[in-house]
């Protein structure tokens, strides 16, 4: 190899190194769902039929096999401002469900929320924005049954335009919503939105 081509090689390596350092120093944020995962992009090619709803029974554990989520569940109420309460921020592997509402697997809309991160780093639903249509959400219940949901869409909403009815209204089949923070982050205002995964019951184990 000539000295000239060696020189070029070193120059290219230096550029790559600078780019890596610069790019890596920028903020890495949690995954954001792509437009293809929104309802507007249409249903996934293979959509499982809705299963008959189960009688109500509280959830105890939630799993999302594709993203290695496996978390215990706690009951949540409403905060003073009417928003859904959230699990304690100190616990990075804890999801909650709205216990005055529909339990997962029963007819209606079960609402689940968990942190995307806390002060120490990523938390239970860090990867929620990476979910795709057709992925599974499994919920173990107190009655010993496991309710299996398929993901219908993953959408991201600005905090100021959060669609209450679309997310929280009772469905007339067994549906689930899994909610976490996302959609851009600024040091001043924190996360600017919520990522919401929508699913419906397709089976029971």
């Amino acid at each position: 190899m000539s000295n000239r081509s060696k020189g070029w090689g070193i120059a290219v390596a230096a550029c790559v190194g600078i780019w890596l350092v610069q790019n890596g120093s920028e903020h890495v944020t949690p995954p954001v769902p792509s437009a293809a995962q929104a309802f507007a992009a249409g249903p996934s090619v293979h959509t499982d039929a809705a299963a008959d709803p189960l009688p109500p029974s509280a959830p105890v554990r939630l799993r999302i096999p594709e993203t290695d989520v496996d978390t215990p569940m706690m009951g949540l109420g409403l905060a003073a401002d009417g928003s859904l309460d959230v699990p304690p921020a100190g616990n990075r592997n804890m999801a909650g469900w709205f216990e005055d509402g529909t339990p997962p697997g029963a007819k209606g809309t079960a609402i689940v929320a968990g942190h995307v991160d806390n002060a120490e780093g990523p938390a239970v639903f860090y990867t929620l924005g990476a979910l795709k249509k057709g992925h599974r959400i499994e919920v173990d219940r107190q009655d010993g049954r496991t309710a299996v949901f398929t993901v219908d869409a993953v959408e991201v909403y600005e905090n100021k335009d959060f669609p209450d009815r679309k997310v929280y209204d009772e469905a007339d089949r067994a549906e689930i919503r899994v909610i976490t923070c996302g959609g851009g982050f600024s040091k001043k205002n924190g996360y600017q939105g919520n990522v919401v995964a929508f699913g419906h019951l397709i089976g029971v184990r």
Binding site: I10, G17, L20, V86, D117, N118, E120, C181, G190
Partner: protein, 168 residues
């Protein structure tokens, strides 16, 4: 066997559901109208009831035990022919329709239905503080390593060039 058990469970649940919403027979018959405001309420709401049944300057005792709110008293309102009373919807009552009855001192009764609905959450959730947001340390480390290697390579190349030039 399992199907039988499920069928039985479902039947039992249906029976229980019918039982919960059925109008107790004791209230049927000559009861007068009990106005309930609001007629649909969420847990924690104060509900006001009034009726003409108790008559002018009358009094009565209300029964909200169907939803666990106990008994309450009805007293004459500013409109003397109407008696008014209040109770609070308990926090943990299930959604559904609950019969409220009033027994007046004059022996008359009144009844009405209260529909309990649960609040839904509103607005976005507060589930992150940004602790996962920050530099990608692996990438920065890799970049630094590549830069270091390029620097070493550059120094070696320059030295070789220098010694090569001397050799000529």
């Amino acid at each position: 066997m399992r199907t039988t058990v499920r069928l039985f469970t479902r039947t039992a649940l249906t029976v229980a559901a019918i039982g919960a919403f059925a109008v107790p027979p004791a209230y049927a018959g000559n009861s007068e109208t009990l106005e309930i405001y609001p007629s649909e309420a969420t847990p924690g709401t104060t509900v006001t009831v009034n009726t003409l049944a108790c008559g002018k300057h009358g009094r009565g005792v209300g029964d909200a035990n169907s939803l666990g709110a106990g008994e309450f008293h009805l007293n004459p309102s500013t409109h003397k022919e109407v008696v008014v009373g209040q109770f609070t919807v308990p926090e943990h009552v299930k959604p559904g329709t609950y019969g409220i009855s009033v027994a007046c001192d004059n022996g008359k009764t009144a009844r009405g239905d209260l529909i309990v609905k649960h609040r839904r959450p509103s607005g976005h959730v507060q589930t992150g503080v940004g602790g996962s947001v920050g530099p990608d340390t692996a990438q920065v480390t890799a970049g630094a390593a590549v830069l270091a290697a390029a620097a070493v390579g550059g120094v070696l190349l320059l030295r070789r060039r220098a010694s090569g030039a001397q050799g000529h």
